[in-house]
């Protein structure tokens, strides 16, 4: 078993196959899209492969340490930041192939005209705990 992160991007991913921005969809199309995501998560729970799903606000704040006794420095958001994560799903599956298969299904979520948006998803394996037996 291995955990994988299926990463959705607001920005930074290659352009999707079906590139109509969400604000040009009809409200029903947006509802259908959300429903597809929820159904997908529910099916994963049913198959015993669901771990977590979260969405992120598009804008955040950059923070860094600014020395002893000083409050942290904040900055941003930076418009030039290339990579902007929209959300993720964490799955626990038997193989890398299965992770790819599931990401493919998730990427088929419907958009404008009810057609799959062919969105690029990034599939990243988790670093796990080391196995007991190595040699």
């Amino acid at each position: 078993m291995a955990k994988y992160l299926l990463l959705k991007h607001y920005r930074g991913a290659p352009p999707p196959g079906h590139d109509v921005p969400m604000d040009r969809w009809t409200p029903e199309e947006i509802s259908d899209h959300v429903q597809y995501m929820n159904d997908f998560a529910a099916r994963l729970e049913e198959s015993g492969e669901f771990v977590d799903a979260q969405a992120l606000a598009p804008e955040g704040t950059w923070v860094r340490y600014d020395g002893e006794g000083r409050p942290p420095v904040t900055d941003g958001p930076f418009a030039e930041t290339k990579d902007l994560i929209a959300g993720w799903m964490v799955i626990d599956v038997d193989s890398h192939d299965r992770a790819i298969e599931l990401a493919g299904i998730l990427s088929a979520a419907p958009g404008a005209d009810g057609k799959p948006i062919h969105e690029w998803l990034e599939v990243r394996p988790f670093l796990s705990a080391p196995p007991t037996i190595t040699e």
């Binding site: 729970e45 015993g48 038997d94 670093l127 007991t132």
Partner: protein
């Protein structure tokens, strides 16, 4: 008795479940009933310890099973069954227990399902404990287990199962190591020991020996800060000598039967390491011979990779690099092995570059940090 002996309680689980199934209970329903009986035991036993814990569990689990089976048509049969359970039954058969092991490791199941079902139905762990051990939500684990139960519920056991399937599952559990409240390595060891008590099979002994020999080194495998300590740097004085003694004894008895298998060979390699008081005393020539045997048995590229390390120790780094040369560079840990052998060969620059590359490719956090430290060590020197 103020608290329940959980180890005793859980050791009875597969036997109790096996009896219910033999009496004709559906496996999935019987398994639920046994879990209910465990909860009831934890509640009732402190005040009223049973004279015969197993018989108590069988009685309570059977009643739970009957209560859950409410089909009207079954009611008459139910009373007959109740009569049967109150009568002194035949001596519990180890075959019942063994069949539970086989069912939970059935080839119809995916590895993760077989692991989860084994921990619950053979190990007696709760779904919550298993979910915590594998870091998934309890609802996900509950579904995984219930699907697995549905998959194997109707399987008939007309022929003896293949013990190799069970061993693979137990090996997977052991290799998961320690995460959370449940110590999976200890649990795998317990279940393998229990299995060795009911079936006389050299590979079961081989796996038990392998687990004991690895478990013996456990305390020394990680530093207090969680970083990996390689075999060569482990404090051998802290290895668990009782576990090593038992592992070697179990292994020798298995090898004497002359039916070699991969677990016995892996255990033999682990035993050679355990035998050496210092890393320099390791009999690497014999280690290589056992790896040759393992290659013959498994034809696994990962084994060939580990063999290259052993060749490097037995015949020098050049020989190790030669053994590595023919292997697929995309194998996990291939780059790490190459880095190690190049360092032993005195090529520090290449080793540093390869260690950094290996860290980038590592699949575990501890391994990544360890490899990054090796690269940093060589850079600092050069």
């Amino acid at each position: 008795m103020s608290t329940v002996d959980e180890a005793l309680l859980r050791s009875l689980v597969p036997g109790v479940l096996g009896i219910l199934v033999r009496r004709g209970a559906d496996f999935a329903a019987a398994e639920d009933a046994v879990q209910d009986a465990l909860v009831e035991a934890v509640r009732a036993w402190p005040a009223a310890p049973p004279r015969d814990p197993k018989a108590w569990l069988v009685t309570v689990a059977w009643r739970r099973f009957l209560d859950a089976t409410r089909a009207g048509a079954a009611r008459r049969r139910r009373e007959e069954l109740l009569d049967r359970v109150s009568a002194p039954g035949p001596a519990p058969s180890t075959d019942d227990t063994l069949q539970v092991y086989f069912r939970c490791a059935h080839p119809l199941l995916t590895p993760s399902s077989a692991v989860a079902l084994t921990l619950r139905a053979v190990g007696g762990l709760t779904t919550r404990q298993i979910a915590q051990a594998y870091l998934v939500p309890e609802a996900t684990m509950a579904q995984r287990i219930s699907r697995a139960k549905r998959t194997v519920s109707g399987v008939r056991f007309d022929q003896p199962g293949d013990v190799a399937t069970v061993l693979r599952v137990l090996y997977l559990v052991f290799n998961e190591g320690y995460s959370g409240d449940v110590d999976l390595a200890v649990e795998a060891l317990r279940l393998t020991r229990q299995l060795a008590g009911i079936i006389n099979h050299p590979e079961v002994s081989g796996l038990l020996a392998l687990m004991l020999l690895h478990h013996a080194r456990r305390a020394t495998r990680t530093a207090p800060d969680g970083s990996l300590v390689p075999l060569a740097e482990q404090d051998r004085a802290r290895w668990d000598s009782a576990a090593i003694t038992e592992g070697v004894r179990v292994l020798q008895a298995a090898l004497a039967r002359d039916q070699l298998g991969e677990y016995q060979v892996q255990a033999a390699i682990a035993a050679l390491h355990a035998d050496a008081r210092t890393v320099e005393e390791t009999d690497w020539v014999q280690v290589v011979e056992w790896y040759d045997e393992l290659v013959r048995l498994t034809d696994s590229p990962v084994v060939l990779l580990n063999r290259a390390v052993a060749v490097g120790e037995a015949d020098g780094a050049r020989a190790g690099l030669a053994a590595l040369a023919g292997l697929d560079a995309s194998l996990p840990r291939h780059t790490a092995v190459a880095a190690y052998l190049h360092e032993r060969d005195g090529d520090t620059a290449t080793a540093a570059r390869l260690y950094a590359e290996a860290a980038h490719r590592a699949t575990t956090l501890a391994e990544r940090d360890h490899l990054a430290r090796q690269a940093a060590r060589l850079h600092a020197r050069g």
